[in-house]
């Protein structure tokens, strides 16, 4: 916000601009959005949701921070290289299906089971979650990377 104002000629943006509301709300909304994105991610497989939507939502949450603060703050908050995230996401998404060769089953064959956990009750465990985690990471990091790249080109 400040950067945009400065670019359009408002040199005194720092003094005049008081975006405490935006920044405080962004923090709160960020938490809500990121929790919802995790919720969507875990809801996947049996109910609507999944890695792609979850990943996009996580990226949206981080972009909210990017708008309210700036790129430096975002990098301090999330000190990770996006490229590394994309790579690990791809590894999860393709490495896991490949592992099914070890069980003598074709590519992409998933294993699943149910277990009883004291508080949560009956929990379904599915190896597709790990594949979805890969999708989640890749999508979130790619969306962020592209927006940060475009933002850099502006400056």
């Amino acid at each position: 916000m400040k950067q945009t104002l400065k670019k359009t000629g408002h040199d005194k943006a720092d003094r005049q601009m008081n975006d405490v509301f935006l920044q405080f709300t962004a923090k709160l909304v960020f938490l809500i959005v990121i929790m919802f994105s995790f919720n969507l991610f875990f809801a996947g497989h049996y109910t609507p949701g999944g890695g792609f939507v979850g990943g996009l939502l996580a990226a949206a949450a981080l972009i909210l921070l990017l708008i309210a603060y700036d790129k430096k703050t975002l990098q301090r908050m999330v000190p990770i290289d996006f490229r590394l995230i994309i790579t690990s996401g791809l590894t999860f998404a393709v490495g896991l299906p490949t592992l099914s060769f070890l069980f003598g089953t074709p590519f992409f064959t998933h294993q699943h089971t149910h277990i009883e956990i004291p508080v949560f009750g009956d929990v379904a465990l599915h190896s597709a979650v790990l594949f979805d985690l890969g999708v989640f990471l890749t999508v979130a990091a790619t969306a962020l990377l592209i927006i940060v790249l475009v933002g850099e080109a502006e400056n």
Binding site: R83, T87, L90, T91, V94, F101, T105, P106, F107
Partner: protein, 497 residues
């Protein structure tokens, strides 16, 4: 175990090589080693695969243990195996060629990674048995090719890359549209299953002709067939030579393969119309390619227009849809992939050495580079189809098939196109290697041992392929069989049930 893992190896190996390279970050030297090792592994895997397919027939695996036609199947018949093998060979030598030619800047920006991802997509498109999955793999290699064509960010690359992406984006959307129609008509996406359903169906399914027109529009754009080749000469002119080797040798051929596959399996009802259309546009492609190749004096452009001629000739063989024509089309397809890679590599060497692409400014290079000159001559003869070099057998079978089917004019056009090819490449040879000497002091001192190793290896491979063509006939007959006798391709489904 073998049936589970073997058909997927050509897809997984390049992909994992790419991922490992991404993990190591911007280290060009490490990338070079990994790319070479990865492509060598892929080559070994495809050789194993070809032998396996030759011994025990089509090899199938079902992703996620979902039986076909419900799940996605990866089907490797002889045609796919041969194409995978040729792709692996070309990838390996192109990677070696790139060491000294692509430039360290592009290597830092993940050039080898993108090459590996593109090969993943190309191999996937060759080996999948599911038409939607083919679309996905098309997008995978197209996305990688978008990055490759703009990698480096010179003005001409950005300008032509934008057009290339736009054209492919639109044709991809039409691919989805065609898939939508196909799915609503047949209710299936497994290619073998669609064939079984269509051939068992008694009623009128002329709607498939509409789907055929949509599909031919899509694949003709990707393969560069008349009248949709307009983007090809401009866009292929932009990227540096090693990328052009991959594009020219592989990408258009994927489109040709897709045309052959869909024509043999889906469009079997209104053959008079669909095959006639294919024949006409193939001949028009040959003619337009010949005109282009004859009219330019720019080495790069001449070779690019030669791609069009080759695509047209292969499609003439496919349009015949009989045994002779398809065996010829397959000989010519494999031959063209090898020889185009060889020619592009040699022309690339000349361009890197002299810094010029126009042949008028060059001359007399045979004194400095006798080996390169004569290798170029052999490659030119092979491209034209002088016996016993590799281009001869493909053209022989294709022309024989056109005469058997009373398409005399098509056969004569194919034969005449050989003259255009001969004239255009010999024009390069005479202009560059003979004639009055150019100013030799302008030549650039470049390291070229690996460039020349890769180029000569490709030329020698194509010569060996030509000499061994007779011994390889059973393989090509097997490959052509899944096209002229589609039931032999689709019967893996009935074996399951």
């Amino acid at each position: 175990m073998t049936t589970n893992i073997l058909p997927l190896l050509p897809i997984i190996i390049p992909f994992f090589t790419g991922i490992v390279m991404l993990f190591t970050g911007r280290r060009p030297l490490a990338h070079r080693v990994m790319a070479a090792v990865g492509s060598l592994l892929a080559l070994i895997a495809t050789i194993w695969l070809t032998i396996h397919v030759y011994q025990s027939g089509t090899i199938v695996t079902y992703l996620g243990s979902w039986v076909a036609p419900f799940g996605i199947s990866v089907v490797i018949d002889m045609a796919a195996a041969l194409l995978l093998l040729t792709t692996a060979i070309i990838t390996m030598f192109t990677v070696i060629y790139s060491f000294q030619s692509i430039g360290i800047e592009r290597e830092k920006y993940y050039y080898y990674v993108m090459v590996m991802f593109m090969i993943t997509g190309v191999n996937g498109a060759f080996s999948t048995g599911d038409i939607f999955n083919m679309f996905v793999f098309f997008e995978v290699f197209l996305l990688a090719s978008y990055v490759l064509i703009t990698l480096g960010g010179t003005k001409i690359q950005l300008q032509e890359g934008f057009k290339y992406i736009l054209v492919n984006l639109i044709s991809s959307n039409f691919f989805v549209l065609g898939l939508a129609y196909l799915y609503s008509v047949t209710g299936s996406l497994n290619m073998a299953d669609i064939y079984n359903k269509l051939s068992a169906f008694e009623g009128n399914y002329s709607i498939m002709t509409l789907v055929a027109v949509l599909f031919i529009f899509v694949f003709a754009t990707k393969a560069g067939v008349f009248p949709l080749y307009f983007w090809l000469p401009g866009s292929y002119y932009a990227p540096p030579m090693p990328i052009l080797v991959l594009f020219g040798a592989l990408l258009t051929k994927v489109g040709v393969y897709a045309i052959a596959r869909t024509y043999s399996l889906f469009f079997i009802d209104n053959v008079d119309f669909t095959n006639q259309i294919l024949l006409l546009i193939a001949l028009a492609t040959v003619v337009m390619g010949s005109i282009g190749a004859l009219s330019y004096t720019d080495m790069k452009r001449i070779i690019i227009y030669n791609i069009l001629i080759a695509v047209g000739v292969i499609l003439v063989g496919v349009a015949m849809m009989d045994q002779t024509g398809l065996v010829g089309a397959f000989y010519y397809l494999i031959h063209d992939m090898l020889i185009k890679a060889a020619l592009f590599m040699l022309v690339g060497y000349l361009i890197y050495r002299t810094g010029e692409t126009g042949i008028q400014k060059l001359g007399g290079l045979i004194k400095l580079h006798p080996w390169t000159g004569w290798m170029f001559f052999i490659a030119a003869m092979g491209l034209t189809g002088v016996p016993p070099l590799s281009g001869f057998y493909g053209k022989l079978f294709i022309v024989q098939s056109t005469f058997e089917n009373d398409h005399y004019i098509s056969g004569i056009i194919v034969l005449l196109s050989s003259l255009a090819v001969l004239y255009s490449v010999i024009k390069i040879f005479i202009g560059v290697f003979w004639g009055s000497d150019m100013d030799f002091s302008k030549l650039r001192p470049i390291k070229s041992d690996k460039i020349l190793f890769a180029s000569f290896a490709m030329v020698i491979l194509s010569v060996v392929f030509g000499l061994a063509a007779d011994a390889l006939y059973p393989l090509f007959d097997m490959a052509a069989q899944s096209f002229y006798d589609p039931a032999s391709y689709s019967n893996y489904l009935t074996e399951v049930e």
